[in-house]
């Protein structure tokens, strides 16, 4: 379904002045993002590097916190993935979930797209 959504996004954003990625790129990026946000350690491992930086802004303390590997909460199935920009082997992606926003920096490493750095914030209540 996630790939389906990204594909639909491409169709919809086709009317925009400039699509951020080719259909092939968008599908590959959407797939790695779906792996990263899955409730499945194997898929998360496939999507990340050993040292992927995962950080979150705490809106209460106004501090930055490190999220230990394996401690990221899986995103809701109804999340929305937006490829904000792509340049060569790099991409900037936002994921809008029901409870938080994730910003992902994605890059090509070893011939595969990988999540390199992330920054998240929960919705304020």
């Amino acid at each position: 379904m996630n790939r389906y959504l990204v594909t639909l996004a491409l169709l919809i954003s086709g009317a925009a002045p400039a699509a951020p990625c080719t259909p092939k790129q968008c599908n590959a990026i959407g797939a790695v993002v779906a792996d990263y946000l899955a409730n499945d350690a194997r898929r998360v491992g496939r999507a990340t590097l050993a040292g992927t930086a995962q950080r979150r802004v705490d809106p209460a303390t106004l501090q930055l916190e490190e999220i230990p590997n394996g401690k990221l909460q899986p995103a809701a199935p109804s999340r929305t993935i937006a490829v904000l920009d792509v340049d060569g082997d790099m991409a900037a992606v936002a994921v809008y979930d029901v409870s938080r926003v994730d910003y992902l920096q994605i890059g090509m490493a070893g011939g595969h797209w990988k999540v390199i750095n992330t920054l998240s914030e929960q919705f304020a209540h």
């Binding site: 959504l5 919809i12 954003s13 951020p20 937006a82 904000l84 920096q105």
Partner: protein
């Protein structure tokens, strides 16, 4: 198409359509641009303290290289970045060599995604507002392709 697909798709359309629009209010955009400018001007002026001001003290800056190995993503520490800056690795007074195009890609409350086109490379920056001050916390970057 199942009706349940419609809401996320509509949200996605909104997100995709907004990418090229202004993503932040004027004060926020100005604050984010000022931080990016500390980074770019710091680099081109050889001004280490100005670079230091722009970045989080635990900045993660990683280079994406063509043919890069996934176990060896090149990382630059904040101290090394500031030292390179202060040593004048990027220093130039030539306006034609000081490209610094800043584009705010997205903002949500205390975090932002920003693209900066420098003379020789592109940075994707994640900025966070920590104790009320925007700082660059995560960066991936890559050199411009060599023109043949």
């Amino acid at each position: 198409m199942k009706p349940t697909y419609l809401i996320p798709v509509a949200m996605l359309a909104m997100a995709a359509g907004a990418v090229s629009a202004a993503k932040c209010d004027k004060p926020t955009c100005a604050a984010l641009t000022a931080v990016a400018q500390d980074y770019t001007d710091g680099w081109y002026n050889g001004d280490g303290p100005r670079m230091r001001r722009a970045i989080y003290d635990k900045l993660v800056k990683r280079e994406i290289r063509q043919g890069g190995n996934e176990t060896n993503v090149n990382e630059l520490s904040p101290d090394v970045l500031v030292n390179y800056t202060a040593q004048g690795y990027g220093k130039t007074d030539d306006p034609a060599r000081r490209r610094h195009d800043v584009q705010v890609l997205d903002v949500y409350n205390g975090m932002a995604m920003v693209r900066v086109d420098m003379q020789d490379w592109v940075d994707y920056m994640q900025m966070a507002r920590i104790d009320g001050r925007w700082q660059i916390v995560n960066v991936i970057w890559s050199h411009h392709p060599i023109e043949k």
